[in-house]
Symmetry: D2
């Protein structure tokens, strides 16, 4: 069982805003923050957890987003460098909650934060499955 | 004051999935649901509330997303027709919460739902402002 | 052989600009015109040629873009309705050239035009294949 | 006058594919290559030519794409690192042609190449203007 006091590692990925991320308000378009977290997760799964998304796919698994909450604090702008900090908050039998924070690197200010609830699915059925113990162990760092 | 029992109108916009909305899982990419709600809101502001976003901009106002929660139920697929149903849940002095439901038209099944908290800003300062009474009236239908 | 004088049918798909298509210049972002033509092709393959992309996929075929030229005339803006007109200019053994025109509906002005060279591939190998005669016939209208 | 033999500098920007760039074929979506060239140009205008796009905007100028040709050779895939190589081919009175090559870094293979014709516009009128001599000089390296 996960004791509530269990604390998982926080990992960071640094990225830069692309011009095509900018919307009519000269800010990063809201939906792109979701894409930034997705990109950071892919990077961290490979680089920090040692099990890239492609490995999940080879094993017949995928991660689908069940739910998200995103809080938009200060918009990123063109050319901004930012860091996406992610960590697992808790596991359930079939999924996990990932918390994230996106900070502007130069101004060192919070741009966006929130969480994503992921559910593990079998790619063949696209239905939720119980997370295998060995995967859970790999991600419990 | 808004009594908790006050119920605002629900409006619907029908759209179709574009091929460029599809991601590596052959589903609509998660962040595009946010774009669909945005498109529905623009349509409904003009068609249903009689005050399009361009009118807000002419008056020097904009609506920024402060926060969102999105629940992903069943993914939309290529070519799917869907309806985006939106309604105001409540007003604050400077903003409002919009609830939304996205339903697959053919299967009549829920695809995604949730809410968006919008804040009204003065475009010149990009800082929140109190919603003028006449705008609040126009949107309290 | 295709005689140079052979003329193929022109088909039209009407669409509307989505807010997330708009870029920092308050215009439709250049790369979205490519997405509009793609969406129109998917629509016309199903509705006009009677063989949707999904049918190609079931048969083990896909269409990849080999090359494109796009000429940007007048930018589309938020909420604009536009029509995408497409027609086959000529076939090769393994592909075809599709010409397109995107016109603003209200102003009746040309927004973008150009062509796409598509190559038929076997999905299993992702290598070009000769277009089967029955498919060529279906598209030679 | 530009002598045909005049050769301008080639500059490179390295980037990585984001998961949201991937389409239903598990490849980078065609329209994203246009976005990659745009991102590389913004980077190189600032880093290599010493005059970022924001400086053009402050001076009241913008660069609009008039035309493009893109040749798709080998698709980039998720996580791929790639380099975007750009150089000016020639100037006209009101614009310039930029050639580009996108190479996969690990495989050292060509992924996409082509050109973009840009036209300089006055932002106030969004109409083409003659390129000022001092800007032309700054970019003639």
């Amino acid at each position: 069982m996960d004791a509530p006091s269990l604390v998982y590692s926080r990992f960071e990925t640094e990225m830069q805003v692309r011009p095509d991320d900018i919307d009519m308000y000269q800010h990063v378009h809201s939906s792109r923050y979701l894409d930034y977290v997705l990109a950071a997760r892919f990077d961290q799964m490979e680089r920090c957890y040692g099990m890239p998304m492609s490995e999940f796919q080879k094993q017949g698994y995928g991660w689908f987003i069940a739910s998200t909450q995103m809080n938009f604090k200060r918009p990123l702008k063109i050319g901004d460098h930012f860091v996406v900090r992610c960590w697992i908050e808790n596991f359930t039998l079939i999924g996990l909650r990932v918390r994230f924070e996106i900070d502007n690197v130069i101004e060192a200010k919070r741009s966006c934060d929130g969480w994503f609830d992921y559910v593990m699915v079998a790619l063949e059925t696209t239905r939720p499955v119980r997370i295998p113990e060995w995967i859970r162990a790999k991600y419990s760092i």
